[in-house]
Amino acid sequence: MKITDAVSGALLIALGLFMFWQASLFPSFGGQPYGAALLPSILAGGFILGGGLLILRDVMARRQAAGGPLVSLVPELRQGTGMAALLAVLGNVLAQIWLAQPLGFIPVSVAGLLVLFLVLRLRPWVAAALAVGTSMVCWWLFAGLLRVPLPRGILDGVL
């Protein structure tokens, strides 16, 4: 996603203002003028300054040459199935966040990877084998060897 500097500048200023507002709510520290709000306020000032400079620079550049649209997608995302691939990647991550707790790591991982491999145009049986294999290796390495508490979900009694 391409964002013009003027727009990112405006976003940064908004972020700076938000941080100022939040920081003003932090309780002060033992009656001293500095405390939890000090660094966030300085950083907020930095964001506003930096955002302002970005806008200024962009506006000056636009005066010399005609600017493009404010926000646009990179060409790769508009052609082919780039968008589908991107969504499949994000879908995999989101599925692990939302569905892994009830269903377990392995089923979510197998299903998610299968979709992703298919979107990347692998043959179905290769995709299925890879999805199952990758999930199993991940489980074995992390849950087995490294004892990471990956969610067991519906496979609780089997593993």
Partner: protein, 332 residues
Amino acid sequence: MTNFTKPTRRGLLQGAAALSALGMMPGAAWAADYPSRPLTMLVPWGAGGGTDATARMIAALLERKLGQPINVVNRTGGAGVIGHSAIATAQPDGYTLGIVTVEITMMHHMGLTELTHADYTPLGLMNADSPAVTVSADSEYKDIASLSEAIRASEPGTFKASGTSQGGIWHLALVGWLQALGLEPGHVVWVPSEGSAPAMQDLIAGGIDIVTVSLGETKAMVDAGRAVNLALMGTERAASHPDLPTLSEAGGGEFALATWRGVAGPKDLPQDVADVVSAALAEIAVEPEFTEFMNSRGFGITYLDPAAHAAMMADADGLMATTMAAAGLVQG
């Protein structure tokens, strides 16, 4: 596995149903044959620290007694809030236990969480440590009486102390001690630090005057001859340091406090499950492997059974409430 290689929808559904049925089975049958699968022990503090080491030792011994593997999992951050929340919100089936530390009686007073000690099923207190008043070896104060006198006589803000974050247990130790001396909580400035190691470093480097952390945390520097323990803020002397007087013995004021670590499960753990674990913990507390380990780290062993553990937490909660209110740390 045929379900995976031939992914017909019906096959998958049947497989999933079968798997979930299998998953339910141990859940329904635990009461009689607990534990029948691996356990998780949650630790609210980081790997390598004192609580982590204690937890891993307990887990290793508990594993032997219960006959099931116990996976120690560190859930760190947020001054202990995150790990304590994870223990309290786990399924109360006995398969997720955790180490609950003194912070559970402090965090809710600061408004960091709603959780209190009442959200847990105590299974046994395993350790308690009192802090010591420690100064640098080149400090002009050689005993606690002269230090207390000097603090009393000084302008507020002359002396500086450190050991943990603002409102942490060692900060409260200082506040309680100052109150016992009849002074304002801010008479000695508390310099927040991230744990005891940076505080000890700052003490030796000459940045601060006093450190109030546990004996185990000062051990290396004291052994190196760089720091000196003046008195223990406990009701009696520590077994590991029989020569170190308590505050009241040495004329440093009447105050005692301790940090502690206990094993607990979420609230409403079934009684038979809790009994299995607490019986095992009572045995572990007197096992030489455990006592030798605790001594080597400079940790005190104080075992309390579940009922006494619960009563102690309630007491500690009250003490913390008054000390924290005095320090101006109570929110809301």
